[in-house]
Amino acid sequence: MSTELAFAHALLRPDAPCPAGLRAWNGSDPVKRYAVYRNNVVVSLVDALADSHPVTQALVGEAFFRAMAGEFARRSPPRSPVLAWYGEGFADFVADFPPAAGLPYLADLARLEWLRVEAWHAADADPLPLAEVAALLADEAALPNLRVTLHPALRVLRSAHPVVSLWAAHQSEDAAGALGAIDFAAAEAALLVRDGLDVALLRVEPGAAAFIYRLQRGDALGAAAQAAAPFDLPATLGLLLRHGAIAAMRTS
């Protein structure tokens, strides 16, 4: 076994013995020294997940979150040195983590927070000027076939749980009061958009979220609007335009 393999092997395995071949100048047991590395690997990865998932952590408490995130980190360490992208897959892990089974909304909440990370770091894009949108209306017949390029930071999430209300409650002064008022039977959909240098999170109708999702995957405007459940189309388009979320519209 190579030195590196032996050293790496035990870092993510709490029960594995300390690798052979280590020494200390004073002859002390190197286990304690090796534990510094072992600890730092897991703690630093858990810290990264905690920074990306503050509401998930608040919901379950720090101790539970760190234990759950530690499990994830040992099973699924990052594949890239770019830690901003560490945590894709965490929500799926949460969904299958038995001790969290009593909180059925938790995985979607983690998913929502992950989308916020993606939106935060996504590419920048200029919005399509409203005058150009207006100009496109001149050719009314072409409108159903337009394909919309949405801002690279835009994300939508449809959940069977009130994830937007849960998330928003944790941003409010009176989190306990806001949490007590949530209807846990309600399905909710979230829209995440860049707002200046911040990411704004809005609750939208499930039909509007489905419409935006279809636009994002490349469906033409007419088909996307028609396939979604009933929703307020003018208000939804207004929302997208107002947040600079439409970068381009082209006939295909």
Binding site: V55, G70, A84, G102, Q171, A175, G180, L239
Partner: protein
């Protein structure tokens, strides 16, 4: 499924959307934006620090893995009324060393 979305209805919708988008901020506040919400800023996650040694939270104690599988959520979830929980709160289920 929506009623048939025609070219004319799309034109109408866009027309209305443009006037919404061009409306002053005060008027916009009355629309869906009242639900708009922001969270805390994200930090840079890569650094070159070495943690806090062997004694800080989340250490690799030998029994740590077992603890992870027998813990119960104790956060703001306890303030929610959960319909799926027999206690009416975040369900407090303990699992002992059970792996999926």
């Amino acid at each position: 499924m929506n009623k048939t979305v025609t070219a004319a209805s799309l034109a109408l919708a866009f027309g209305a959307a443009l006037s919404l988008a061009a409306a002053p901020a005060a008027a916009q506040d009355k629309m869906a934006d009242k639900e708009k919400c922001y969270g805390v800023a994200l930090k840079g996650k890569n650094d070159c620090k070495a943690g806090a040694g062997t004694s800080c939270a989340g250490t690799s104690k030998i029994d740590y893995q077992g603890n992870a599988w027998s813990m119960v959520p104790k956060g703001t979830c306890e303030k929610t009324a959960s319909p799926t929980s027999p206690t009416g709160h975040g369900q407090l289920m303990a699992f002992k060393e059970k792996k999926v």
